[in-house]
């Protein structure tokens, strides 16, 4: 078997072939081909033992089986919707999986078209005309939005205003990007989960470079006055950046209609299941910022026969050409996840996507109501419409409840001493009866 090859099972050389090739290059031994000073040579002894295919698979399956089997009601930035089998089947076709950045478009029309279609879907969802072909994740897309703002700033502004409830991990990424661009990140207050518009109004000034809001918020509340935020930003010539995801985009007010300049978020919410936080950043913006967009862009053109053809375009923005003046350092992105997101979106169609979005509203409402019926629990904490998730106030300390639920096979957030956060989607809705029963026991 491939497993009986010595050395790498993925190097096809027989000993005879190796010898013949060495003869061609005029060497007696492969070692001769290495031009490494003796002082820094290494003896290949990493101490990593090889396993055959079966052994590798068995060992890793055994290790991963150490993860407890449980149903998750966790959200707060990593969301899961049921990924249909067809997404796996199509995206795992090896031509897609084993290809790379489309430097030779003539033999990459298929992947380029898939990315062009992905971009088109994001354009339709946001109402803004320029979507890139993917970023790493929501947090880095937000960071890139801030640096885009810095590049296009018409004022001398350097303040980036973000909700006080912005998860620390997302904020931390943003702060790293901001620091490199000499920007500062500041929090604006929230009011019952949503942006506190009065407070924000008093904060926005001529030194404000960007205002960031999310819809839904990290607590699952749906913003109600985003247009006012957009106006506020526009009035002070700051950029308005909106964080969201494709499911929310299908139902909620479009970013274009509320005046967003840049939209970021996790598009991997569709197409990826639970992946320990792995995602896929979406990045959409206005036409006027086209030449400042980070990342890959696929455009339609024509080939010599005059037929429509797709190609990476506006590459002069990118690091391999513009180097330190590039719009970003991004090279390898999340293209394959974008492919999966596009397949998932297409499989859903507008009806299916809207059904998911409406369920995100209804199921959260229903679950909050059921949880509210439990003694010692009140939900939702915020008097808002919710999307997928909500807070529940608890009499008993929330961390204790979280741990007790964990023992019963349910994972939930304890966001502070007396508040839980629960997230429900089509992927765990079937388990809500069990959760409610367990919560009734331990709350």
């Amino acid at each position: 078997m491939t497993g009986t090859r010595e050395g790498s099972p993925y190097a096809p050389h027989t000993d005879a072939e190796t010898r013949a090739m060495l003869e061609t290059v005029g060497a007696d031994d492969v070692d001769e081909l290495f031009d490494i000073p003796e002082a820094v040579q290494f003896d290949r002894a990493f101490g990593i033992e090889a396993r055959d295919d079966a052994g590798t698979a068995r060992e890793i399956a055994g290790t991963l089986a150490e993860n407890d089997d449980m149903t998750s009601f966790l959200g707060r930035g990593h969301y899961v919707h049921h990924v249909p089998a067809v997404v796996d089947r199509l995206s795992s076709r090896s031509e897609f999986l084993t290809s790379y950045t489309q430097y030779q478009p003539e033999i990459a029309q298929g992947f380029l078209q898939a990315l062009f279609e992905y971009q088109s879907m994001l354009v339709d969802l946001t109402g803004l005309p320029v979507a890139n072909a993917s970023m790493y994740d929501h947090a880095t897309a937000l960071g890139e939005a801030a640096t885009l703002a810095a590049r296009v700033r018409s004022t001398s502004g350097s303040r980036v205003l973000v909700p006080e409830l912005l998860p620390l991990r997302r904020r931390s990424v943003l702060e790293n990007y901001a620091e490199g661009a000499d920007l500062t990140v500041e929090s604006y207050p929230t009011d019952d989960g949503n942006a506190d518009l009065d407070a924000l109004t008093s904060m926005v000034d001529s030194d404000t470079l960007m205002v960031y809001a999310e819809n839904p918020t990290v607590r699952g509340t749906i913003e109600e006055r985003l247009s006012a935020v957009g106006d506020l930003a526009a009035d002070s010539e700051a950029l308005f950046c909106l964080g969201t995801d494709p499911v929310a985009l299908s139902l909620l007010e479009t970013p274009a209609s509320v005046g967003a300049d840049v939209v970021v978020g996790d598009a991997g919410t569709l197409g990826l299941g639970h992946a320990h936080g792995m995602g896929h950043g979406l990045f959409v913006t206005r036409e006027q910022f086209l030449r400042q967009v980070p990342g890959r862009l696929v455009g339609a053109g024509t080939d010599e026969r005059g037929r429509r053809a797709y190609t990476l375009t506006l590459q002069t923005r990118e690091q391999h050409i513009r180097r330190e003046r590039a719009t970003s350092n991004i090279c390898t992105n999340q293209a394959w996840v974008a492919l999966r997101t596009a397949i998932h979106l297409a499989w859903l169609g507008p009806d299916g996507l809207l059904e998911l979005a409406e369920r995100a509203v209804r199921d959260a409402r229903t679950l909050a109501s059921r949880v509210d019926d439990i003694d010692g629990v009140r939900a939702p904490v915020h008097d808002r419409h919710h999307f997928r998730e909500f807070l529940a106030a608890t009499d008993r300390p929330a961390p204790e409840i979280r741990d007790a639920l964990l023992d019963r096979g349910y994972a939930v957030h304890a966001v502070d001493d007396h508040r839980l956060q629960l997230c429900v989607t089509d992927a765990n809705e079937h388990a809500t009866d069990g959760l409610v029963a367990a919560l009734s026991e331990v709350a």
């Binding site: 002082a39 993860n67 033999i107 279609e117 391999h320």
Partner: protein, 466 residues
Amino acid sequence: RYEPLLIEKRSETVEIDDAPLPEELTRDELTMAAPAEPELARHYTRLSQETYGVDSGPFPLGSCTMKYNPALLERVASDENAAVHPDRPDESVQGTLEVMATLQEWLGRIGGMDAVTLQPPAGAAGEYTGLLITRAYHEQRGEDRTEVVVPDSAHGTNFASAAMAGFDVVELPSGDDGRVNLEALEAAVGEETAALMLTNPNTLGLFERDIETVTEVVHDAGGLVYYDGANLNALLGQARPGDMGFDVMHYNVHKTFATPHGGGGPGAGPVGVREDLAPYLPAPHVRETDGGTYERYEPAHSIGKVHGFEGNWLVLLKAYAYIRRLGDEGLADASAKAVLNANYLAERIDFEVPYGPFHHEFVASAGDRDAADVAKHMLDHGVHPPTTKWPELVEEALMVEPTEAESRETLDLLVAAFDAAGDADADALESAPHRTTASRIDQVAAARSPRLSWRALDDGGSRTDP
């Protein structure tokens, strides 16, 4: 046959009027492609067939290490137990954390580094992370170092990452032998120097023979030395960046450790550091406790985060499987065969290779031909061409990295494709390719009037196509 856009095949517009939300909070309508599953399956099946991957044939794209992606890795990554939420408490995800801790450990041994973070989601993100660590390190020591030195032959990401991390870039001209010129280095390095970024072997495939001196010069000036892991597939088991004096490095798992490139990603770019830089690693980091369990924690002087969660986990899991499958001997053999393949291919083709001795990749010159034309001509031979026109040290560069996964037979196929282009006349070169899905695409025109979504199309749609 030309494949229409999905939305040209079947689209649907839905009015939104009975949503469970007040009307003012919702959009009015939604237009999307709406294929049935059979149509969806055929669409993407066809698109896949119009895409060239490693499974289609040789893919000697220089600096990209397009090696075979073992099927085993996909099987391992599809394990349901791998599908967890990042906020699951540590005690409930011991399997995931053990994989992460072990991968950190293995990568450390492979690079000769003392601590490794898995968080950066790509190679460029790894560079950026390494530079944030560099910045934090100097700041912590009260030093204000604003410059990063980068050789002119370095990957574009080095320059861009340095700029993104807030540094000024100092470009270092290469020596006549294609390597670092020590005099130029000494001139470039000083008290402003935060770091030197270097890949070794460099983008010409040459090992920096003076590497110990190079790292010493930078260290003497108080700077750190960063290793760009893009070329690590040349050195596995033969030499380790840590042993050469590098302080920080990233690993491209989609290059060196065979995780698939996926049409452009996801990859993963773990970063290794020497011991005194470990406190600066991103949060959370994973460690084994004295009790033999695994936990996440925040390093003392952590730079914070470079990814919203913990990086591209599913990619990291594949890298773990690859390393475990190969072990010491397999990894060393991968590099040995990668270097053998590059040398064999260079020897066989009728193109000049000005610099050597090279390792896993080499840069040939197309001479008076246009390197891009040579590449297009090669497409008609059913192979993927090399990287073109870079590095600029070589005139009309053809940067070739066959990887260890190619057999002599496929290398000979490449030889035929190279030499056919070498023998072709100007017309044949300029008009190529002819046998591909699309003929030569006018990229200048496409960039001049960008059409980035179906709504921007004005060509009448697929129906106009012959």
